[in-house]
């Protein structure tokens, strides 16, 4: 009779592993729980993505089957289009503002109100309201604020005795206004991430720093921020991905105007792809946006969210 004792590092054969998985319920759990998620993900993510990748090579208006194969022409047109350059530049500016203005603002407010007091709870709610508001509603509210005839800017102009000005119709100012609205809309989300993280900083480390003579700013810099670095990395990741996708705040505010000065990549896709029934062209923009988002996600996670870094 042969000795059936296995060495300690011996990995069981596939059949044996399947038999064990079946007997301890893991196999049946996987067979029951995996298919719904897999089917939904395939139907609503993988297939549309794949189809979009195919349509990008066709001149297609969305009706019937795509037949007019144009190769890379959609991509050539897109990269040669001055409005696309504006949209890309604007998207980059939104990323920059999100990182350099929105996140520091959120961190500053979080530091002011992270402690659990009734007053801070009220302020947290106030600051978080813009985030829970629908983007379209927020855009409409701000379009009223910037209205040169009846809005807040009109009141300011009247009280200062200057000529009424129309921010959203001004080629120079419109995109600044859009960025103000974006910062206002999303800073509360980042603030909440920081508040949760700051509440996890051990109080005795802050007290130890106080005893050692650290000022409030030095405590923030040397104790609190290093502690919440993982939260900042996650928040920045959301800020970048969110900035790449900005769309529904802009439509009610400027609809990409004036003269396409406030287009982003997604509004450009919508304006020059969907509304003009150039589904193939829109798909090409979508493919580029998808590739950029994936590259950002992969590299960001590799660089900033590795274990030990974030």
């Amino acid at each position: 009779m042969t000795d059936m004792t296995l060495p300690p590092d011996h990995r069981p054969a596939l059949g044996e592993r399947l038999r064990r998985a079946a007997s301890n319920g893991r196999l049946s759990a996987a067979l029951i729980l995996l298919p719904p998620a897999l089917i939904l993900f395939t139907l609503f993510v993988i297939l549309p993505l794949g189809e979009s990748g195919v349509y990008a090579f066709y001149d297609w208006n969305g009706y019937g089957a795509p037949e007019d194969f144009v190769g890379l022409r959609n991509f050539e047109q897109m990269f040669g289009h001055s409005v696309f350059s504006v949209a890309v530049a604007n998207t980059v500016k939104i990323v920059a503002v999100s990182l350099l203005v929105q996140m520091p603002l959120a961190l500053l407010l979080a530091l002011l109100i992270y402690r659990q007091t009734p007053t801070n709870a009220v302020f947290r709610l106030i600051f978080f309201v813009p985030y829970i508001m629908a983007e379209v509603a927020a855009g409409l509210i701000w379009s009223f604020v910037f209205d040169g005839n009846y809005g807040v800017t009109a009141s300011i102009a009247t009280s200062l005795g200057i000529e009424q000005f129309f921010v959203l119709a001004d080629r120079e100012l419109a995109f600044y206004a859009v960025m103000v609205v974006i910062v206002w809309k999303y800073f509360g989300f980042h603030m909440m991430i920081y508040i949760a993280a700051l509440q996890g900083v051990p109080e005795d480390q802050i007290e130890a720093a106080r005893i050692e003579g650290a000022s409030r700013t030095q405590i923030v810099r040397h104790v609190q921020v290093p502690h919440i670095r993982p939260a900042i990395a996650v928040s920045a990741f959301f800020a970048i991905i969110g900035a790449l996708q900005v769309f529904d705040v802009i439509i009610p505010l400027t609809n990409g105007g004036p003269s396409n000065q406030t287009q982003t990549i997604v509004t450009y896709l919508y304006e020059f792809g969907l509304t003009r029934l150039r589904i193939g062209f829109g798909s090409a923009v979508g493919v580029v946006l998808f590739v950029v988002a994936v590259l950002v996600a992969v590299f960001y996670q590799r660089i900033f969210m590795r274990k030990g870094t974030a």
């Binding site: 480390q205 106080r210 005893i211 050692e212 650290a214 104790v223 502690h227 670095r229």
Partner: protein
């Protein structure tokens, strides 16, 4: 000189008064231990001295200066926390010299102080490590190193050994005692462990419900506890406290007998039945039951051949008994 004086200190959190009107003097260069059960206000008192809390009323003086409203960093104190409060993202060296860097001390002096602290605490080979790469005892030493380099007038310790295992705690206790001898500074140490208090202190302050029950040297507290609370708190195993009536002394509310002051007698005394016997090697601890009196603890020298359920007679030397009145205060015996 770094005598610490607390004058009529009151501390209230909202409507809850944690410390009602407390005065205390911690002598210069003493090792004073604040001891008491959880919630007695000892950590609050330490935080008041540190400046991490502000007293509702009263004055805190360190040396000749009134520091009641001073920032913690202006009081000339340093503090070792129960959790060590090390900065996890900084190396051991950075943790230790963090405060010195904040004061913009010249690099040469800073490095000299760091090297000296590392030498005293045997941390030289760990200076580049992060706190997560250290054992509990090493982290504790880093926390102490952080205190030492600042040359404070007063060291404050908030239950610094409670996160360590028993063996390490004993070792660190010895190291702390040596440290006090070597740097000869005022130290105020909070613990709920009476063994730490007894072994480390020059002066023990026993606290109960925000008030001071007794101040004295470890042996004063052990030999002449001022109250039933102190009698029960100081000493391990705890003092036996029985009613005077049960021992035929109805005029005394409570009689305290230390476990080591009970002896096995051939005849007379109290008749007891052993419940459990613990052999510690040097001593034998017997938990016994005495009819009409209750449960008592007896410490017997060496290896006693006792077992559970055994009957024995116990004798308590009247001269070694402690008497307390109905309010729990000590009754001093009149000696002829």
């Amino acid at each position: 000189m770094a005598e610490v004086r607390l004058e009529n200190i009151t501390k209230a959190f909202g409507h809850v008064t944690v410390i009602p009107d407390l005065s205390l003097t911690v002598p210069d260069k003493s090792f004073t231990v604040l001891v008491g059960p959880s919630g007695c206000g000892k950590s609050t008192l330490l935080r008041l001295i540190a400046g991490l809390e502000q007293p509702t009323h009263g004055t805190i003086r360190i040396g000749d200066a009134d520091v009641t409203r001073d920032e913690p960093s202006k009081r000339g104190i340093s503090m070792v926390f129960q959790s060590y409060a090390l900065y996890p993202h900084m190396s051991v060296a950075r943790n230790i010299d963090f405060g010195l860097r904040l004061t913009k001390m010249p690099a040469a002096e800073r490095e000299a102080r760091l090297a000296e602290a590392a030498r005293v605490l045997a941390l030289e080979e760990y200076l580049d490590r992060k706190p997560s790469e250290l054992s509990g005892g090493q982290r504790q030493r880093v926390a102490i190193g952080r205190s030492i380099v600042r040359n404070p007038k007063v060291f404050l310790f908030d239950e610094p050994l409670s996160n360590l295992d028993a063996a390490l705690r004993t070792q660190m206790r010895v190291e702390l005692a040596e440290l006090h001898q070597s740097i000869d500074s005022t130290m105020i140490y909070v613990t709920h462990d009476q063994v730490e208090a007894m072994t480390l202190a020059d002066q023990i302050v026993v606290m109960n419900r925000g008030r001071i029950e007794q101040i004295g040297s470890p042996m004063d507290l052990y030999d002449t506890p001022a109250s039933v609370f102190v009698a029960a708190f100081i000493g391990s195993p705890k003092m036996n406290l029985v009613s005077g009536r049960a021992l035929g002394r109805p005029e005394i509310a409570t009689i305290g007998i230390r476990p080591e002051d009970l002896e096995v007698a051939e005849s007379g005394g109290l008749e007891a039945t052993t419940r459990v016997v613990e052999r510690l090697g040097s001593d034998t601890i017997a938990y016994v039951r005495v009819d009409e009196v209750g449960d008592l603890t007896v410490r017997l020298p060496g290896h006693m051949r006792l077992s559970g359920g055994e009957r024995l007679r116990l004798h308590a030397d009247p001269a070694r008994q402690h008497h307390f009145d109905a309010d729990g205060r000590r009754i001093e015996r009149v000696t002829a």
